[in-house]
């Protein structure tokens, strides 16, 4: 198992390859993220966060797993995405200010 399939097209494996590619999942939501502040809670390695960062003004990826966050940071750097940040935290007690995001995503989190 080294790839994920989208409409019969094989894509290279990578972050979260057992889950839908971010562009497929975000596309299904039908949201226009341009100019918005997005929080991806339970972000893991940032599969959705990195996808959202291509359109959003800023993205914060929150997860309790430091290793996953480190891999996400490295991937963001590799992709040249400077508008995504990774932060350690739990969904039940976010150390974030009130009313600070336009969109909050729980993908495979609940």
């Amino acid at each position: 198992m080294s790839a994920t399939a989208d409409a019969g097209r094989l894509l290279p494996g990578g972050l979260g390859f057992l889950r839908p590619p971010a562009e497929i999942e975000l596309g299904a939501y039908g949201l226009d993220l341009r100019g918005l502040r997005v929080a991806d809670i339970g972000a893991g390695e940032g599969r959705v966060a990195l996808g959202a960062a291509r359109d959003a003004a800023s993205v914060l990826a929150v997860d309790p797993d430091r290793g996953a966050l480190a891999r996400g940071r490295a991937e963001a750097k590799r992709q040249g995405l400077s508008n995504v940040k990774f932060s350690e935290g739990a969904a039940q007690s976010l150390r974030l200010p009130d009313a600070s995001f336009d969109v909050v995503v729980f993908s495979w989190t609940l």
Partner: protein
């Protein structure tokens, strides 16, 4: 779960959007033969404890809707295909999977189960909007 949803509500701006996406255990995963669009040759159910967890998550979403923290904007389902070179690889995958049942419920004779195999799983998403 409700705690997490309340936190999501707190950090959202007025009329901000909340997205919940999860594997959908209400429908079985499909096993397709030959290609991602090949014939469905089997299905894979969800383990009972995982189904119970999913129902609790559904209940948490219903709870915040009932409490008028959010309003529902839209929901839907997408399908995601995971390829396996052969039966051995699929069996290895299922043997330690926490969500799927351990075995495929085959619906086609072995002769029609051509490889590669594709497990097509459902992902349910719900788009909610923060209410004032």
């Amino acid at each position: 779960m409700v705690d997490a949803l309340q936190e999501a509500h707190r950090i959202l701006v007025e009329r901000g959007v909340f997205v919940d996406a999860r594997p959908d255990s209400r429908v079985s995963a499909r096993v397709r033969a030959g290609s991602a669009h090949g014939r469905v040759v089997g299905t894979i159910g969800t383990q009972r404890p995982t189904k119970t967890d999913d129902q609790m998550s559904d209940r948490a979403i219903r709870d915040v809707l009932c409490r008028k923290l959010f309003r529902s904007r839209r929901h839907g389902r997408l399908w995601h295909a995971i390829p396996f070179e052969d039966f051995a690889e699929l069996n290895d995958y299922l043997s330690d999977h926490l969500r799927f049942s351990r075995r495929v419920h085959w619906q086609a004779p072995a002769a029609r189960r051509t490889t590669p195999l594709f497990v097509e799983r459902a992902v349910r998403f719900e788009i909610l909007q923060k209410r004032s």
